[in-house]
């Protein structure tokens, strides 16, 4: 095909693109991924029995805030990485600071605690399943994020996939808080963080081949 003919075709009826199209699409994905995770909690795991009471406590919201901020960092990084010339440095730095601050506080409490309590603070009652549940609940959101990214222009597939995983993992972990009754910062700082980073690692592996265009 001649280039002029191609240009004629492309420019025949260009659809208008709304400002903020990238943010709108990722916000849609966050909503869809969050709903999918919510359905999984309600239909599969069940909400925690003391949910109404827990919601009056500080720790419930600290957990939600931490994982939501990890999701926000992922969103912010994606909003940059979806563009061919986007610089994700500030977003990644933001995510690293959130993570370091929460994990640091968690381990600070843990070290300050009575040694007899340390094991139960760290392991809680559900450390074996936490990672797997967060990973499973994040899969629909991760898949949706990668599909949306395939229509965008990421030029760093592995890093973009990692951000996609952190984004989907942050959303899923926040919803998972409706099921999980653990209430120590060191538990959340360890197992939730590993869950979100695990989704990020999966995203990086998938992104390496799914995000070529």
């Amino acid at each position: 095909m001649r280039t002029d003919d191609l240009i004629d075709q492309l420019a025949a009826q260009p659809r208008a693109i709304p400002a903020g199209a990238v943010q709108i699409r990722f916000a849609g994905v966050a909503l869809a991924g969050g709903l999918a995770a919510l359905v999984m909690v309600l239909a599969w795991l069940g909400a925690r029995q003391d949910l109404a009471q827990a919601m009056t406590g500080r720790m419930f919201w600290m957990k939600a805030l931490y994982t939501a901020l990890l999701g926000v960092a992922g969103f912010w990084a994606l909003e940059r990485l979806a563009r061919p010339d986007g610089a994700p440095r500030k977003a990644l730095l933001f995510g690293a600071i959130v993570l370091a601050a929460f994990v640091g506080m968690g381990f600070g409490q843990w070290l300050a605690a009575d040694p007899d309590h340390r094991r139960s603070m760290m392991m809680g009652g559900s450390w074996r399943v936490c990672f797997g549940y967060i990973l499973a609940m994040a899969l629909p959101g991760l898949a949706a994020t990668l599909v949306v990214l395939r229509g965008m222009a990421p030029t760093r597939p592995a890093l973009t996939g990692f951000a996609a995983g952190a984004f989907a993992g942050g959303v899923a972990a926040t919803v998972y808080g409706l099921h999980c009754g653990e209430s120590t910062m060191v538990f959340v700082g360890t197992w939730y963080t590993l869950g979100v980073l695990g989704v990020g690692a999966l995203g990086a592996v998938l992104g390496k081949w799914a995000l070529r265009w």
Binding site: T3, A82, R83, P84, D85, G86, A153
Partner: protein, 180 residues
């Protein structure tokens, strides 16, 4: 360069709002710059230049939602071009690195007047018919001198001389227009 950037960005913003003529102008202006960009980097495979120009224009079109209206347009467009070029090399197993911001030289090297294609057409019209056909056949359609000579009913040597004269007087006419 900044003028070029401002003009391209203005066209892109109009195109994003659905303005077809502005968008078409953007793509053709960008196409010329992309051609220069790829030609300089693909001297080993000049036959693939046009493919890459087209692939990049398609990427510009299908992925235009990723252009941030608050940012300059040229770095975005040439980041797409750079990705396409690296991908092209990767598929051919060539390892190479490519600086991110070296499209600047293309903007400096290729700065056509907005109406240059029209000027060329007008200058061509002033040539005698036989010379005009020769220029079209050889320089625009890409025929060989022998083929163009066959069309005009003259020998290859005569076609070469006539083409040379035609280009010379064409150059004088366009220069005269620019000076005047």
């Amino acid at each position: 360069m900044t003028d070029t950037e401002a003009a391209l960005k203005a066209l892109m913003l109009l195109g994003l709002d659905g303005d077809a003529p502005a968008y078409r102008l953007l793509l053709s202006q960008l196409g010329g710059r992309l051609r220069v960009y790829f030609e300089r980097r693909m001297r080993d495979a000049p036959g693939d230049v046009e493919d890459l120009v087209q692939e990049t224009l398609m990427a510009v079109h299908t992925r235009r939602a990723t252009y941030d209206r608050a940012q300059p347009f040229t770095p975005w467009a040439f980041a797409l071009a750079r990705y396409k070029l690296i991908d092209h090399w990767r598929r051919r197993k060539v390892r190479a690195t490519l600086p991110i911001d070296d499209y600047v030289e293309v903007l400096a090297a290729y700065t056509p007047e907005p109406g240059s294609a029209m000027d060329l057409d007008r200058a061509l019209e002033t040539l005698p018919e036989r010379q005009r056909n020769l220029v079209r056949d050889v320089k625009i359609e890409g025929l060989s001198l022998a083929q163009a000579g066959d069309r005009a009913g003259v020998s290859q040597g005569a076609a070469k001389v006539a083409l040379h004269r035609a280009l010379k007087s064409l150059g004088e006419r366009m220069r005269g227009r620019a000076d005047g």
